[in-house]
């Protein structure tokens, strides 16, 4: 219906590859490919028309290629029923995909040094980001982590496209034993990073934000909240986010995110309604907020 918003398409699967503990599916989706900006995601219907699993599964777009008018690729590890079903897809099967969804990563105007931090499947959206940053002349360094060697996404690609790439695993089976944040400070210093981008589980994003803060650099985080709709209508994916105006709102991570500035996210209050959030029980700023809210750009 519009030139920049998401589209819903039944796309043929081009191929399904298995890489270590994860899968990569490429689908032909020109409409999504042409609209895509890095950081955005797609949502995929799983299980077929008579499935008992109704909800779409959100996946970051890992790669966009011009083949066949435009293909997109996403990576995933099998977690539950939806990803198990996806892992069984074969070329030529049709997938019902909606995208691109969400706010993309904001890109720096100048050719600055960027460190990209990913945990597990959270590494996926950092690859198209790295490409975009490189195209703008930015230096890109990677810090990627996972539970074990086979859970570190696309290590080889990371090495290829980045200036440096550091890996961590919880069990020490690959790279440094430990967490991404154990090495992040060092990387920021050595690579003179000007800005950080991070994607992964909430505790990781919180820790990355803390490290970035210590080093005085801005950080963009991409959150992985559970999402029922992915398009902003169900209000199930909310997290407390502080706006430009200093007011905390329960923001939808699907359309107001998934990318937020790290310091905007009230990590300590995720899973709660902070008492000072707009419209929280007992919240007192009724008059003020109404005008604030209406003035806000929500397009």
């Amino acid at each position: 219906m519009s030139d920049y918003g998401p589209v819903q398409v039944r796309c043929p699967v081009l191929n399904v590859r298995r890489v270590d503990a994860y899968y990569a599916i490429t689908v032909v989706a020109p409409g999504i490919a042409e609209r895509f900006r890095s950081g955005q995601f797609v949502s995929v219907a799983v299980g077929g028309d008579h499935s008992s699993t109704l909800l779409r599964r959100p996946f970051a777009v890992h790669d966009v290629k011009p083949d066949y008018g435009g293909t997109i690729e996403f990576l995933f590890s099998v977690r539950g029923t939806g990803t198990a079903w996806l892992a069984e897809r074969r070329s030529r099967d049709l997938l019902d995909v909606v995208g691109p969804l969400g706010r993309p990563f904001p890109l720096p105007r100048d050719p600055v040094n960027c460190v990209l931090v990913g945990g597990g499947s959270g590494s996926a959206p950092l690859f198209p980001l790295a490409q975009s940053l490189r195209r703008r002349g930015c230096r890109v360094d990677f810090v990627l982590g996972g539970a074990s060697a086979d859970r570190v996404f696309s290590a080889i690609t990371a090495r290829r496209i980045a200036e440096t790439a550091v890996f961590t695993t919880d069990d020490g089976s690959f790279g440094t034993r430990g967490r991404v944040t154990d090495v992040l400070g060092r990387v920021v210093e050595e690579c003179r990073s000007d800005v950080a981008y991070a994607c992964g589980p909430m505790p990781m994003l919180r820790a990355v934000t803390a490290v970035a803060d210590t080093h005085g650099i801005p950080v963009q985080v991409s959150v992985e909240e559970t999402m029922a709709c992915g398009i902003g209508i169900c209000m199930t994916c909310v997290i407390p986010v502080v706006g430009e105006d200093g007011i905390t709102r329960m923001a939808r991570s699907c359309v107001d995110g998934p990318v937020f500035r790290g310091e905007q996210v009230r990590f300590d209050d995720v899973g709660t309604i902070p008492f000072d959030a707009l419209g929280a029980p007992g919240w007192k700023g009724a008059g003020a907020s109404r005008s604030t809210e209406s003035a806000r750009d929500i397009a």
């Binding site: 519009s2 559970t226 902003g232 909310v238 329960m250 899973g271 929280a280 919240w283 809210e293």
Partner: protein
Amino acid sequence: MNTDLRVRLGGLELPNPVVTAAGCAGSGRELAQFFDIAEIGAVTTKSVMLEPHAGRPAPRMAETPSGMLSTTGMQGPGVDVFLQRDLPWLLSRGGRAIVSVAGSGTAEFGELARRISAEPGVDAIEVNLSCPDPADPAGRRFADDVSRAAAVVSTVRSHARSDLSVLAKLAADVPDVVALATACAEARADGLSMINAVRGMAVDPRTLRPAVAGGMGGLSGPAIRPLAVGCVFRVHEALPEVPIIGMGGVRTGADVVEFMAAGASAVAVGTINFSDPSACVRVLREFTEALEARGVSRARDLVGAAHRPGVGV
């Protein structure tokens, strides 16, 4: 064939019977990325409250077999923002608006009706009786007490502009849905919407904790369709003159046929919007095709067909 899809809900005529369910379509803006919002019968907006509400803590949803459990807790910006921002947008796109209201108290419902009646262009007000009644010592919902529910409906009716239809949105998990429906009709509701999500719970077998914050959530989706169809059938049987918007798990055009045959004059698509953002127009298309296939020339002839053995349509 040129099927006549128009349906009537009391004084309100809709071009076709497919509308959105409250809280499952925002105010239409997001779905408009996928189809022309003016094409469907109407958009029922997310229940609007007088003040902004932050809603309930996360996790707010869990997937269940053929359904989902959710607790959004009426998050929204309040009626002022709604009237300044969301409603004008919907009307500007040619959408028909059924505005759902949720008051934290009977008086607030009246105030909401008054405010909404001041805006031109709204077609109907839907009274969400599933919100907690602050005056109830046990924290029950308005729908749990037939007389409190009726009081809310008549308050809304008396504050609403007389040309606006007032629809009472019923809960299914009440002692007696027919009694509730009857009380609302007697309180001068022009129509009834049913059913709201049904209270349920899921425990995450990994964490062993309730899957949604606060424990209980609302179960919606195809799983509850038989409960919804049962309510529509029984209420239509008892009150054949009162128009009904049926909802609960509508997924396909055949489901619209099912609800209308049970007694609904219009049918709302809820949870399935989340899994298929084009669902409303797809369902409308499938429904139209189903009518053509069986040679039904007027959609409204279907209403209540399941109550007329052997007559058919």
